[in-house]
């Protein structure tokens, strides 16, 4: 039942792109996602382990196709809907 995040020793990902990429965010929304997640954990809406669990629960094909912060947004949304902070579909507007 190991999930898609658990890649240690997995083969086939190819060479490492060693480009020294120093920009932490590539779009404003990524920075917002980063900060919102920090705030939600600080407010104890959920904890860090729940967040990791939610990232990992992303279906494997979707997980691999998603960018780093798209995974984060998926996890935040999953947890907020599960905890009833937002209603299912409420973010789709």
């Amino acid at each position: 039942m190991a999930r898609m995040n658990d890649v240690g020793g997995m083969q086939g990902f190819g060479p490492v792109d060693t480009t020294d990429d120093t920009a932490p965010f590539h779009a404003d929304w990524e920075a917002r996602v980063f900060a919102l997640n920090g705030a939600l954990i600080a407010q104890k809406v959920y904890n860090l382990d729940e967040f990791r669990d939610a990232v990992e629960s992303m279906p494997p094909a979707e997980y691999l196709a998603a960018s780093y912060y798209e995974r984060w947004f998926f996890a935040i949304r999953t947890l907020l809907e599960r905890k009833g902070v937002v209603a299912a579909g409420e973010l789709d507007d």
Binding site: D21, T22, P24, A39
Partner: protein
């Protein structure tokens, strides 16, 4: 970054919507979010880690304390391993006979407070999957070829301990002071994918 963001406008709209909802519900404020982003970007460098290394190179007592208890030792420089929840710092020392490399195979754990935001490659599946299995091949892709007799240890950050490498001090730097030494230290050397 892994994957491509072909739906940037869509997700951007959803994130804005999320922030609005959380503001309406009194969970966050826009100002606090801005502040958190600014704080993160302000600390976005490996300068802290580099200072720690330069001090360890020049102060044998500090080096000893650093290797024994990194969490405590870096507070002497006003630094901390930091993180969303309390983290322990463990500094691992490269020597003539040993080389250390840091990874997080399960997610992307990284000593952000000391090294700044992690590079994209650190979060990539390619690095995370391969470095535990074939570290020398991965290091070669970074241009670092280690002699065969150097023992390699890979540190997989699977708990709340964060790892930082204490690289070897380059030869011919005896005349340099601490700030000059710190300026020689690269982020990749602190992760273990480069030597100095």
């Amino acid at each position: 970054m892994t994957g491509t963001t072909h739906s940037d406008a869509l997700i951007s709209r959803r994130v804005r919507r999320l922030e609005t909802l959380l503001e309406e519900r009194g969970i966050v404020t826009g100002a606090a979010v801005d502040e958190a982003i600014d704080a993160f970007l302000t600390g976005a460098s490996a300068a802290g880690g580099a200072r720690v290394v330069a001090r360890a190179w020049t102060d044998p007592g500090f080096r000893e304390r650093l290797l024994a208890d990194g969490t405590e030792a870096v507070t002497e420089l006003g630094l901390s391993a930091g993180g969303v929840q309390p983290q322990r710092l463990r500094v691992v020392e490269n020597t003539a006979g040993t080389h250390n490399i840091v990874v997080c195979t399960l997610c992307s754990c990284y000593p952000v407070r000391l090294l700044g935001p992690s590079p994209s490659w650190y979060k990539s599946e390619a690095y995370r999957s391969r470095v535990v299995r074939e570290p020398r091949a991965v290091l070669a892709e970074f241009g670092l070829v280690l002699p065969p007799d150097v023992a390699v240890t890979v540190w997989d950050s699977t708990s709340e301990t964060r790892y930082m490498v204490l690289p070897r001090r380059p030869a011919g730097t005896e005349h340099l002071d601490e700030p000059a030494l710190a300026s020689l230290v690269t982020r990749n050397a602190l992760i273990g994918t480069a030597a100095l």
